[in-house]
Every structure is written in C-alpha cells, then in structure tokens.
Symmetry: C3
Subunit: 254 residues, 3 copies
C-alpha cells in the first residue's frame, strides 16, 4: 500500500571523504543531529543551535558528489557519529552512502567495510525561517587572518567586537587588563562595501567555531550592522556548495 | 659451592631497539611481567592473561639478535618498565643486555647510558599448557584490513564475530542500532582453507590489542572453528620469531 | 611635572619570535613573573625561584634584537602569558614590542594583530645577589647527551648526582631497585678542567628543566664542587646572550 501511494525514496550517492567531512564539520558547529533535505539535484539543511543564538543554512549541489541519485526525502543524521565513521577513510577515499528505507538506516561503504547506522527521528526538527535582515556592510576577509585574530582573542576575553568603517575592518577583544586588536585596512581586505561605521559584539566561542569550520575556504564574507547579527558566508565542496551562518549579537552592557 | 654445582648462567646479548620493542609489545598485550625461557639458541615465553581469557606462546631465535651468548636460564622481566627504557633509543640503535646474576639484575646499555633493573620473581609464574585444538578453518588476511575492521567495530560494540565459509572471511560487530561488517571474499584473502561454515564470537578489546601488536607483520594467520578459540599467528623480528595468541570465545546469549 | 623630573622611559624593540621564546623559556624554568632590567645596549634579569633552590642570571645584548631602542628602565613581565602570545607567531616572525608607560602596558605587534598586556608590579621583586663561589671543576658537555641521561634518570629517582674526576664526567641516579649511569670519559667531553674528584647531589626536577631550556645551545658548561651548587652556563640568542643558572645541592642522608 505504501509503495503505491508514495513510491520508494531513493538516496544512493558516492562522495569523497574530505567533502563529506567538510559538510558535517560545518553542521556540527551548531548541532549534533540534523535533518538533511534531499532533492533530485542536491541537498540542503537549515538548523538552529540549542541556545537559539545561531543558525546555519547549507546548500550542496549534486555536482559536489562523485555520484548522486536521489528522490525527494528527508534524512535525520547523527552528525557526530558520522564524523567519527569518517576517521576510517583517507581524505580522497570515496564513500558510498545508501538509504535503506525499510530498516530506516543509512548504509555507508568504505573500502571493504560496511557500516550501517540508524537514522535519527526528525519529528521535532522544525525548519527555521531565515530572518529578513538588511545589513549595510559587506566585508570579504582572508580566513587565515580572521583565525589568527580569534586565536589571539581567546586568551583575553569570551567575546569580540566586529566593526567596519569605509577605511577597513577591525576585530577586537578586551579583557580586564589585556586587549587584542586585528586591524585590516581596506587594502588588506579582499573586498569592502561600507558607507557608514558599524559595530556589533559577539560570543567569541560561537564565532570561533564558525570560522574554524571554514578552513577549507580561502576567504569568508561577512555582512555586518550595528548591534545586529553577523552573516558569515563561505563556499564548500570545491564551490559546489555554500554555507550561511547567522550569529546573534550580544548587547554590550556598559 | 654454587659455581661448582651449576656454573654461572650467562645472558649477554645485543639487539636492535625496534626488534626488542616488537617482542615486548606483543607480550605486554596480555601481561605486565613475564618469564622468558633462555636457551643457547634463542628464547621463548608462554603466558596467560590475568583473566585467563587469552594465551601467548612466543619464540625468538638467536638470529633475531645482533649478538647472542646464553646458557639455559629463566629471566623474570618487568615488560612495561623495559618498554619505557626503550624510549631512550632510536629504532635502529643497538641495545646491549647483560644478566648480572649475583645482583639479580639486568644491565641495559644504550649509547653511553647504563640502566640496571631488578629482575622479577618468577616463582608464581607457572608455564601454561597450550591446549590441543583442532580448528577446521585457516585464513590468512592482511593486517591492515583487519585493523580497519576493528577500528570500525570499536564504535559499535564491545564484541565481534569472526566467521568463514568456502567463499570468504567476515568480521562483524552489532550494536543496538548500528552495525559493522568487513567482508573479504576469497580473492581478497592471502589464503583460505575452509570446507565448512564456522563462526565464533570474541571480546573486541582482546582481539584489537592482539592485532595492534602485529603491526610490523604484513599478514596474520587465523585458525577458526564454531564457538571455539581463535588462534592468531604472525611472525616477528624479521621472520626470526613467531607469536601464537589463543583467544577464548564468548558464548552468544540469545 | 613628571615628564620634567624623569623624562619618558623608552622601550621599542623588534625581535624574532624564536629568540624571544628562547629567552622567556629560560626564565619560565624558575619563575612565572620576572623583572627585566632594560639598558641602552641590552637587557638583564636576575631571579630566584619561589623555593629559593635555584637562581638565574641572564644577559642579552641589543644585537640579539632586530631593532633595539631603549632607555634605562624596569619592566615586570608575566612570562607565562607572553609565552602564550608567542604561539600566534611562526619562529621567524618579527615581533615588535613597545612600552606604553602611561598605561603601564606592553604593546606587542605580530603581523596585523596588536596585543596589549599589563605590566606586572615589580615592587616585591628584589634583585638577588649572585654568591661568590669557587668551584674547582669545569666540564663542557653536549646538551643532547645530558638530556638523554636526564630522560633515563626520570624513571628511576627524583634526584641525581653529578660527579667528575680527571678521567671524565658522570651523571647517576639510584632508585630502590633500579639505577641509571651516564659515563662520559674525557674524550667524549668537549672540555674538562678537573684536578680532584668532586660529587654533588641535586633535585632532578630542577636540573631537568634547566637542561631542557638549553635545547637551542649545542653544549652546556657546568662548574662543580663537592656538596656545592652547580653552575650551569650556556649561550642564547645566537651567542648574543648568556644564561647562568645556579642550583643548590641536596645533602645526601646516609
């Protein structure tokens, strides 16, 4: 009866281990389990972290896979567990993934090893809405520069401010006795669109994890306002996918 | 008086650090202290782990040493401590070991360092008997393939089943929701002698440590039956020695 | 008013990250915070560890820096914190350090990052006097040999004896059942001045940390007596600086 009504959902793909790891790492920054929306030509995912401070919106085209054969469906995945399974593979190993709908399992094949894992119940996983934000400033910065700024800040405070002016971009962090400042003038940025001074304060922990998950991307695009969320954007899977993080500001109490 | 009755036991050897490390690692899988039986042309060791689940039977010919001069004797060695001393040496360094019978010590020399260590009392160390087992199946498998199967299984369960049929060999592990299966058809094995289907269940922990200790050997020979111990065999010291592990099965409760 | 009376103390330097790390590591062996005496042509530091067992006397010429511009002053530095900041730099990165006297801070610049840190109060940091010792023996030994002897000793005891005779130098360590001995005859030493037999006992922990901090120096000079402190001397900053440690003996109770 079920077969007649809906047909059988298909999800049979092959993907390089390093690409899958990149995708899962990006998602694991905010959640341990997540619902992937499978389409005929790729997949997408939207999730909010348990504290409702940050959101991820991820898209990956079928071209990011070695092989991709799928019908529309939803797959609830234990991200942490699947990242663990990837430790069995070298970065360029091809992993095949099949959905066994009857048993409600994912079947992963790495070389001669077959690993089956239960899918996660997606009932409680609502699709968050991406808020409509008008962020006046856009800055494109080297991932490596941003990472250095974060590393320096972690010794000093648990929050950072991101600010921009028509002259450049600045990341700064202040503790009781010590301070860190990463100043990138316009010529040290890859791109800057800024007509007004903006500044927002963020949790360093969240921001750090987001930037760390972007390590395979050369640069990161940020959209900023004053006391507004920051939108963090970068490409994954050799330009075959994109990630958008949204991180809520902390309001400075002074 | 003693000299007249028995003469003086001699044990003066030189050995490559990496060979000694290989031997000690294999023994340390089951016991912390052990009794080596020294002969004129080599040494041997037989020991059972404290839980009486597994046994080791090791032989090493004098050709595995750079120099070997010994009369028949027994040496009780703190395996863990001697492995620790080896950290002072590079893999190809030659270590000289002498038995100072009068002081009941081993004297190790590594470059300009002399390290003396007390021998361990062997009074309580009985020589276990190797049981006479008739195991119908023999399979020779790549150490690397087996290691990957173990690594995958460790996330899923604390026991594994080893099975064989005339078509091939299989390692599998089942948890409550997840499962791992390493299937090697006859053509992926180095050797297979099997006329009947066999299957036994084992503690993953013991099996994993045994296979890990065989890392310098390309392949591992296993003898299997149904609900019978597995015999694990591989060579050490550049084919100048051999190790036989025997691991008792776990009986499946269903 | 203040400016008229004292003028403004200047400390503006540039230094290779690896040189700064070498200097700080040597000091961190004994203290977490220390007072650097700044002069026009370099800097010096003298400190005693909290248990008053050891002393350091360090000198570094301005030639050890890429740039050095300073007037006489004192700077109280949190050594541990500054070592942590150096993790942001690669060994050959140039770090600029400025003293902001008004805010009582050090301003470090590494690439595009500015890191400010409060200076430490030096009021309680008295300048220890270097005792006038007449140590009859001088021995110059390879840092690497000494390190191996220490590594071997750490498994055996928490103290070591250093002894010398006209024939050579010896480091030895004795536990209840085990012993370690590093014997370097005259021809294995870089230099030996010794007309009498001497022997002193030391805390292994202190001695080990001192030798570890000398890793960038090929050899270490030791001055020894019997039941007397050992003076440990080596160069830092590509021969542009020197370190003198003094370590009090432990009196053997027999």
């Amino acid at each position: 009866m079920i077969e007649i009504r809906g047909g059988i959902a298909i999800f049979q793909v092959e993907v390089k281990s390093e690409i899958l790891k990149e995708v899962l790492t990006v998602v694991s920054t905010l959640v341990d389990e997540a619902k992937f929306n499978i389409m005929e030509d790729g997949l997408s995912l939207r999730a909010v972290d348990p504290a409702h401070v940050a959101m991820i919106d991820l898209n990956l085209k079928s071209a990011g896979f070695e092989n991709f054969k799928a019908t529309e469906t939803e797959l609830g995945v234990d991200i942490t567990k699947m990242l663990d399974v990837l430790k069995l593979a070298k970065p360029t190993d091809i992993i095949s993934i099949n959905h066994d709908e009857e048993k409600n399992k994912l079947i992963l094949k790495i070389a001669n090893i077959t690993r089956s894992m239960s899918l996660v119940d997606t009932t409680g996983m609502a699709e968050p809405k991406v808020p409509n934000l008008s962020l006046p400033v856009k800055v494109v910065v080297s991932t490596q520069e941003l990472s250095q700024g974060i590393k320096a800040s972690e010794a000093v405070s648990d929050h950072i401010s991101l600010s921009a002016s028509p002259e450049g971009f600045e990341l700064s962090s202040e503790g009781d006795t010590d301070a860190v400042n990463l100043k990138l003038s316009k010529d040290l940025l890859e791109h800057l669109e800024c007509k007004e001074n903006v500044k927002s304060l963020f949790s360093l922990d969240y921001f750090a994890n987001m930037v760390k998950s972007a390590q395979s991307s050369q640069s990161i695009t940020m959209n900023l306002g004053t006391d507004f969320p920051v939108k963090i954007e970068f490409s994954i899977a050799n330009e075959n996918g994109s990630v958008n993080y949204l991180l809520a500001p902390r309001i400075e109490s002074e």
